[in-house]
Every structure is written in structure tokens, then in C-alpha cells.
């Protein structure tokens, strides 16, 4: 199994590569359109802010090719953190920016509050759709590592695959057919995170 990690050229993908190799798949970095078609599955990591992530995809001319691979050729993809957020229509971070538009809805800032400082950093529980292969074998209320201030808000309720709570209930994962996105960092979530990668690679 060859997993292509979309390389925005801005670093911070080492941990994801390490984790995927650890669970037993081969990894290649995808920097161009041709790279995308050569792999079995794709992982879209998040870098910086929503706008940076989209700019990086545009700079490398990956937006159309990625959409074709995912929506037309139905290649499985896992978005992580901002990589999940950009799957939405729109992101409000940094003055607003169009996303990949694979899911209806926007990425907006968490409400936060006096007890709910932002960024939301640390380990938090998720309630997930246990029937989804991505979450196969996870314990109830599994804890994952989060590091973010924004969250995706899909307008189609059935596309929310997991939720978490931080002053409000927010979407911790989205899914539709071959497209998966998680707000938390499986590459930083110890054994349960590795389980999510294993599920994505071998069951999704």
C-alpha cells in the first residue's frame, strides 16, 4: 500500500510520515499533479492557517488534480487538522478564503471563552460514529490530541463523523464515502492515533 502525503513544502509532515510507516505502509510525498495519480491513498496534512494551506495547494497546481482524484476517481483521502478544514467550502481565518469545497459549510473560529482558552491545545474526548471504518476498534470516548483555534462546520449533519466538546460541541471528524477528515492529530495521539492510521490505510 502506497500512501501519498501531500507536501505543501512548509514542513511539519515528518510525524505523519513516521506514523504511517510505523503502521506498515509505504509513503511518498506528493508535490505535483503526477504524483497524486501514482499512489493508492492520500493524506492531506494541515499547515499554518486555512489560507496558507490553500495557497500552497494552488502554488503547486494541485487543487483541480486533487479534486479529480478524490471526487471522480474516488481515491480515499484523510485530511488532518487544517487539511480537514480546507475540505469545506470556505474558511473565515485571515479575512476569508475559498476551500476545496468537497463539503458544504465553513471553517470558523471556535467560540472559546474564559475557561475555554484558545488555541484548544491538548487531549480531549471524541464521540464518534463507531460504524465508520476509520474509527474501528476505538474505545468509547477515546482521547486524541488537538491543537487548533478553528473548526469545520458541515451543514449536512450526516457528514459529521465525530464530535468533541470545548465550551461548545464541535466537529472533530467529517466523512463522506472515500473522504475523511479529522480535526485532531492522529500522528500525535499515541496508540489510538496509530489505530486511526491503520484503519484508514487498511479499512477505508
Amino acid at each position: 500500500m502506497l500512501i501519498g502525503i501531500i507536501d505543501h513544502g512548509r514542513g511539519n509532515i515528518t510525524s505523519i510520515k513516521n506514523a504511517i510507516e510505523f503502521v506498515g505502509a509505504d509513503v511518498t510525498l506528493c508535490c505535483s499533479r503526477d504524483d497524486l495519480s501514482r499512489v493508492d491513498k492520500l493524506v492531506l496534512p494541515g499547515v499554518g492557517a486555512f489560507r496558507d494551506c490553500m495557497e500552497a495547494l494552488h502554488e503547486r497546481d494541485l487543487v483541480t488534480a486533487l479534486t479529480t482524484e478524490v471526487l471522480t476517481r474516488h481515491k480515499s483521502i484523510l485530511g488532518i487538522c487544517v487539511g480537514m478544514q480546507v475540505m469545506m467550502d470556505h474558511g473565515s481565518e485571515g479575512g476569508g478564503c475559498a476551500g476545496l469545497g468537497w463539503f458544504k459549510g465553513a471553517t470558523t473560529r471556535l467560540l472559546g471563552g474564559e475557561e475555554f482558552l484558545l488555541p484548544h491545545i491538548g487531549w480531549n474526548e471524541i464521540e464518534c460514529d463507531a460504524a465508520l471504518p476509520l474509527f474501528d476498534g476505538l474505545p468509547a470516548s477515546a482521547e486524541f490530541y488537538f491543537l487548533h483555534s478553528y473548526r469545520a462546520q458541515p451543514t449536512q449533519a450526516e457528514e459529521t463523523a465525530a464530535t468533541s466538546r470545548y465550551g461548545e460541541q464541535f466537529t472533530a471528524a467529517i466523512a463522506r464515502k472515500n473522504i475523511y477528515g479529522v480535526q485532531f492529530h492522529p500522528e500525535k495521539s499515541l496508540d489510538l492515533g496509530l489505530k486511526v492510521f491503520e484503519n484508514f490505510i487498511f479499512r477505508c
Binding site: N12, S15, D52, H120, G122, W123, N124, K188, L192, L194
Partner: protein
């Protein structure tokens, strides 16, 4: 519910050809505490929530420090903060590429605060962890110390924290140098004062000598995390025991599987 975090600190003396793990007292008086990578493995297995790698070798040891970080990140799938001797956005990128998620920065940020916003724009605020080192003065408000605690920057701690927040920092680590390695407990007074002037998550560090000190910090201040170096390196307690006792005391902790 978001859990409180305990963070073992790994101070790396990278000036040696074979970098060693050390602990310090008052940011000096080093004691050798083992090998950084093996110790990081142990902490991960013992249920640490996050690890903080600090390079004590400055520029000269930076590449050896990077190798240690890289080696750790290859097998530890957990949050890793790293810093010490970071003087540019390129240094920060090198740490991220090696596998860190958060960049710990102090001296370079006080000399050129713009680096905070540059890093926040490039890597996201969540990746920018400002390490605020200070000594408790006999009276009045403490100043930020830089250059591994050797130089008083003349900047007031609360002013600096405010400025960091405005510039886009994501988290603050408060290091009370006076208590470093003392095992006398955290500086609860100034944690509380800083808590009142910022909305950023705070990590308290320096002074932990017992599990009761963790509990006290979480029970009486609004900190999100507590870090400890000497405590984990030289006491019999490990993170598993610490988290069990903290959970019993009502501190929300991550479950271990």
C-alpha cells in the same frame, strides 16, 4: 473535556559529541540524567502527555540537538515541543521538519519580537510557544531573563506576555529560574498574576518536587499544563503514578490504555 497535561522536560546538553540529558539548578549546576532518546521513550511509555526538548548547547549544538529530536520523533507519536537556541524562522522550520509540533522560543523573541508573528503566520499560532524565564525579585514585578537565565532583559513579565499574545503566540511556558531544580514547588503567585493578564494557555515549569505540587498548581491556578525536569529524572515517581494521584485529587487527566 479538555485534560490537564503533564510534560517531562528533556534538557539536552548538545555540546557533547554524544548529547546527554541533564537537569539544572538555577539554570546552572548541571547533573547528568541519562540519554535523551531513551529517556523520552521511557516517559512516553509512562504516560507523559507531551514532551519538551530543550537544547542547552545553543548554535554550536543545534545540529546534534536536531538529530536527537528527529530520532525521538521517529518512534514517539506524541506532542513534542522543542527549542533552545532558535534564532530564526529557518531554525524553527528545521525543528518542525525534524518532528516537533511546537517551537519553544525566548531570547530571539525578546530581541526581535517580529519573529513571533512571522512564525505564527508561517506555521500557525499553535506552533509558537514562548518560554518566559524569570527570577523572583525581592519586591515588585519580575523581569524576563534571556540567554539561559544569564541576562536581565529589563522587560516586565506581564508586559511581555501581553506583547507575545498580541503578536500571535499560541502558548506560554512560565519558568521561574529561582525555583529551577529546587523541588520547592511551583511559583503559584506569579502563575496566578500572569493568568489574569492573558487568555493564552499557560504551562508552569520549574520547582516541582512532588506530585502534590502538580495537584496544587492545577487546583489553585488556571494553568493548562505543568512541566518538570528534575522531578521525573531523579524521583521514584513516574508519570503513571503522578497521573493516578492527580486523577484521584480531581484533576482531569487523559486515560491510559
Amino acid at each position: 473535556m479538555l485534560k490537564k497535561r503533564i510534560i517531562p522536560k528533556l534538557l539536552v546538553d548538545s555540546l557533547q559529541t554524544e548529547p546527554t540529558l541533564v537537569t539544572t539548578r538555577d539554570y546552572a549546576a548541571r547533573r547528568v540524567a541519562g540519554s535523551p532518546v531513551s529517556q523520552a521513550r521511557v516517559y512516553s511509555a509512562q504516560g507523559a502527555d507531551e514532551l519538551s526538548f530543550i537544547n542547552l548547547g545553543g548554535r554550536a549544538g543545534f545540529s546534534r540537538f536536531l538529530a536527537i529530536l528527529e530520532q525521538s520523533a521517529r518512534e514517539l507519536f506524541m506532542p513534542l515541543a522543542a527549542g533552545g537556541g532558535v534564532s530564526s524562522v529557518d531554525d524553527a522550520r528545521a525543528l518542525l521538519v525534524a518532528g516537533a509540533d511546537k517551537i519553544v522560543i525566548n531570547t530571539a523573541a525578546t530581541e526581535n519580537p517580529c519573529i513571533i508573528s512571522e512564525m505564527a503566520e508561517r506555521f500557525g499560532s499553535q506552533s509558537v510557544l514562548i518560554s518566559v524565564d524569570y527570577r523572583t525579585p525581592l519586591e515588585g514585578e519580575p523581569n524576563v531573563f534571556v540567554d539561559s537565565g544569564r541576562r536581565d532583559s529589563g522587560i516586565k513579565v506581564t508586559d511581555w506576555v501581553n506583547q507575545c499574545e498580541r503578536l500571535g503566540a499560541g502558548e506560554i511556558m512560565l519558568n521561574c529560574i529561582t525555583r529551577d531544580g529546587s523541588s520547592s514547588g511551583y511559583d503559584l503567585l506569579w502563575i496566578d498574576k500572569v493568568r489574569r493578564v492573558t487568555t493564552l494557555p499557560l504551562i508552569v515549569s520549574c520547582g516541582c518536587g512532588s506530585i502534590a505540587h502538580f495537584i496544587e498548581a492545577f487546583a489553585t491556578t488556571g494553568v493548562s499544563a505543568a512541566a518538570a525536569g528534575t522531578f521525573f529524572a531523579f524521583h521514584d515517581q513516574n508519570p503513571i503514578q503522578a497521573r493516578a494521584m492527580m486523577k484521584n485529587a480531581g484533576v482531569p487527566m487523559r486515560r491510559l490504555y
